[in-house]
C-alpha cells in the first residue's frame, strides 16, 4: 500500500496545497471551523509536513479532518500560498480509500452523505432540492418547512421557478441525457469506485457494531445512527 505520505503526494490537491508551512497560524485565525470545533488547520499542516506515518494515520482515523467546511478561507490568507483546505481534501480521500473514516463519528457520516447527497445527484441531478429535504430528517429547517413541503408545487410556482418541468429555470427537471452524462462522469472520474469503497467499509463497520444496514436508501438503522449520533465532544 505504500507510505501514507507518498500516497498523499500523488494527490494534486496535496501537491498544490502544501509547499512549506511556517506555522504562522493565519489559516486557523481565519477558519470558521476552528471557531466551533477542536480544529486547527495549522496543526494539520504541521503534522503532515512532519511526514510522521503514525501521526498521519492517527489523523486520517480521527474526527479532526471531517470538521473542515471546505470554504477555502485559508487559501486567501496563507503568506506561503498554501491551501490547508486542499490538504484536508487529500487526507479525506485517503481516509475514504483506506476505510479509516469509519473509526470516527464524523467520518462515519460519509456513509450518510454518500447515500443521501450522492444518491440525490444521480437520481435527480441535484445535491439538494425541496423534495429531498424532509421535515422529519431536517428539524433545523424549522416549522415553516413542514408547510412548505406540503405545498411545494404552489409555492415553487409563485416563486417563479420551473419546478420539475422540462426546459430552463430553477428547480427544473434535469433532462435524462444530462443525468446520463453525470453517470458517465461518475464512472470515468472514479466516483463510483469511491462510492463502492465507502459502502464496503460502512457495511463492515455496521456488521462490527451489530447495526442493521441495507443495500441502498436511507431507511436503515446504520444510516440513522451515523446521521444522528453525537458524542458531544466535537467542540466547546
Amino acid at each position: 500500500m505504500g507510505k501514507l505520505y507518498d500516497r498523499l503526494n500523488q494527490d494534486i490537491r496535496f501537491i498544490e496545497g502544501l509547499n512549506g508551512c511556517l506555522n504562522c497560524g493565519v489559516c486557523t485565525a481565519i477558519c470558521p471551523a476552528a471557531e466551533f470545533y477542536h480544529y486547527d488547520p495549522r496543526v494539520i499542516c504541521a503534522t503532515v509536513q512532519s511526514k510522521d506515518e503514525k501521526m498521519i494515520e492517527a489523523l486520517i482515523r480521527s474526527e479532526t479532518i471531517w470538521y473542515c467546511g471546505e470554504c477555502m478561507s485559508c487559501k486567501t490568507r496563507c503568506p506561503r500560498n498554501n491551501t490547508p483546505g486542499f490538504v484536508i481534501m487529500a487526507l479525506r480521500k485517503l481516509s475514504q480509500e483506506l476505510g479509516y473514516f469509519t473509526d470516527s463519528e464524523k467520518g462515519r457520516q460519509q456513509f450518510a452523505i454518500k447515500r443521501a447527497i450522492g444518491g440525490n445527484i444521480l437520481r435527480t441531478g441535484y445535491c439538494v432540492n425541496p423534495d429531498i429535504v424532509s421535515p422529519q430528517m431536517h428539524p433545523e429547517q424549522g416549522p415553516v418547512w413542514d408547510w412548505i413541503s406540503m405545498n411545494t408545487p404552489e409555492i415553487m410556482k409563485k416563486m417563479g421557478s420551473n419546478y420539475k418541468q422540462a426546459g430552463v429555470g430553477g428547480m427544473r427537471a434535469i433532462a435524462p441525457e444530462v443525468l446520463e452524462e453525470l453517470d458517465r462522469i461518475f464512472e470515468v472520474t472514479g466516483c463510483y469506485t469511491l462510492f463502492d469503497t465507502i459502502e464496503k467499509h460502512s457495511k463492515h463497520k455496521a456488521n462490527e457494531l451489530g447495526i442493521e444496514i441495507s443495500d441502498e436508501g436511507i431507511g436503515n438503522e446504520y444510516f440513522m445512527t451515523v446521521y444522528t449520533e453525537n458524542n458531544g465532544s466535537h467542540n466547546g
Binding site: C24, A29, R42, R77, C78, P79, R80, N81
Partner: protein, 358 residues
C-alpha cells in the same frame, strides 16, 4: 586640500547619501548630492527615536551634516532624477526639470518606500480610523503630545502587527523587511513609557532580533515593560460599534484561535523599493533582486557595485537595512567607488561639464 577633478553624483540625500558624501568629500572628491525633497535627511526626518537605544534621530542627522566640514558637497534639493544614461564613459543624470549632470561615477541611495498597508485590506488601514502604521505612530510620537486615538481618548489596549507586506506571497513581497521586528519592540516600549497602564501586544510570526542589543531590548520589553508577545499572524481586523477593533489570530504556541479587542492597532509595514528607483535603475541598465530592489554585483563580495561599471548602490534601495547598517553600507560603497575612480582616472581626460536646461 587638493580637490580631485573627478565628479561624483549621489542620487538621494538620505542617511546613505549624506554619509557617502561626507566620506567622499573628506577623501577629496567633488560630490554633488541630488535630493528630490526640499530638505535632505530622508526618512530620518520622520523618525523620532532610533532603536535600540532610543537615541533621537536628530543626533544622527547632526552627525551627517557635521561630516561636511572639509570639502562639502554641492547639495541640490527639489532635484528629482528621472534617468541615468551612460555617455562617453561617463554618466549623464537627467532631472525632471530638464537639468542634467555629468558624472564619472554615480552612487544611487534612493532609499525605500513604506509598503502601502491599504493593500492588506483585511487589516483595514484607511478604512478603520484607529488602524495606523508604524510611520503614523512615529510621527505622533515625534510631536511629543500624549498618545490619543481618533476620538481623543487614551488607548488602553494597543496591538502591533508584524510582517505587514513582508514575508508574504499574497502581497508580492517574499522577503523580510528586517527592521520591523525591532521597531515593534521599540514602539511598544515607547507606548508603555507614556501609558504605563496600557496593555501592549505584539503579534508576530518570528521575531528576528539580529542587531546589537536587539535581543536585549526584546527581553526588556517583556520583563520590564510587560509587553505581551503572541506568536500568530493576524487574519483580519473588524471594527466594533464603539470604533474599537476586533482582531483575529491564532496563538500558535497554545494552539487556540483568539479574538481580541483593541483601541489602537499599529501595522508594522515593510519596506518596498521606491518606484523612481526602479525607473532610474532601468534607465541605467541595472539588474534587480527578486524583491525589485537594485541588485549588487555579488551578494557576498560586492554588494555595492552593479552590473553597469561606474554605478554604485548603497542603503535601502538595494535591500531593507537599519539606519546603522545603511551608514555602514554607504561607507563601504565609497571605498569601492574610490578604487574604481583611481583605476579609471587615466582612461579619460574629458572636461567635466554641468549643463543647465539642455
Amino acid at each position: 586640500m587638493a580637490i580631485n577633478s573627478q565628479h561624483i553624483v549621489i542620487i538621494g540625500g538620505g542617511p546613505a547619501g549624506l554619509e557617502a558624501a561626507s566620506c567622499l568629500g573628506t577623501a577629496g572628491y567633488r560630490v554633488t548630492v541630488l535630493e528630490k525633497e526640499k530638505q535632505t535627511g530622508g526618512k530620518l526626518l520622520i523618525w523620532d527615536k532610533l532603536f535600540p537605544e532610543f537615541r533621537n534621530s536628530d543626533k544622527v542627522l547632526n552627525h551627517l551634516s557635521n561630516g561636511f566640514k572639509t570639502n562639502p558637497p554641492q547639495i541640490l534639493t527639489n532635484a528629482e532624477v528621472v534617468s541615468v544614461i551612460p555617455e562617453n564613459g561617463q554618466h549623464r543624470i537627467n532631472l525632471r526639470d530638464g537639468q542634467a549632470f555629468q558624472a564619472d561615477t554615480v552612487l544611487i541611495t534612493t532609499g525605500f518606500k513604506l509598503y502601502n498597508a491599504e493593500k492588506k485590506e483585511e487589516y483595514g488601514y484607511q478604512i478603520y480610523e484607529n488602524v495606523i502604521t508604524s510611520f503614523d505612530l512615529e510621527k505622533q510620537l515625534k510631536t511629543g503630545n500624549p498618545i490619543r486615538i481618533e476620538a481623543g481618548l487614551t488607548p488602553r489596549r494597543i496591538a502591533f502587527i508584524h510582517c505587514v507586506g513582508s514575508r508574504d506571497i499574497k502581497s508580492g513581497n517574499i522577503y523580510c523587511s528586517r527592521t520591523c521586528c525591532i521597531t515593534g519592540v521599540k514602539q511598544a516600549i515607547e507606548i508603555k513609557r507614556r501609558l504605563s497602564d496600557a496593555e501592549v501586544f505584539n503579534f508576530y510570526m518570528d521575531l528576528r532580533m539580529f542587531g546589537q542589543n536587539f535581543e536585549e531590548l526584546y527581553i526588556e520589553a517583556q520583563q520590564k515593560w510587560g509587553v505581551t508577545f503572541i506568536r500568530g499572524r493576524v487574519s483580519e481586523i473588524a471594527e466594533n460599534k464603539d470604533n474599537s477593533l476586533q482582531l483575529k489570530a491564532e496563538d500558535t504556541l497554545s494552539g487556540r484561535p483568539i479574538k481580541m479587542s483593541f483601541d489602537l492597532v499599529v501595522l508594522l509595514a515593510g519596506m518596498v523599493p521606491e518606484p523612481r528607483t526602479v525607473e532610474i535603475g532601468k534607465s541605467a541598465g541595472l539588474e534587480f533582486t527578486s524583491g525589485n530592489f537594485l541588485a549588487g554585483l555579488d551578494s557576498h563580495i560586492s554588494q555595492n557595485e552593479t552590473n553597469t561599471p561606474g554605478i554604485f548602490i548603497a542603503g535601502t534601495c538595494r535591500e531593507p537595512l537599519s539606519v546603522a547598517e545603511t551608514l555602514t553600507d554607504a561607507r563601504a560603497a565609497t571605498v569601492k567607488m574610490i578604487s574604481w575612480l583611481r583605476e579609471n582616472e587615466t582612461s579619460h581626460k574629458k572636461p567635466l561639464i554641468k549643463r543647465d536646461n539642455d
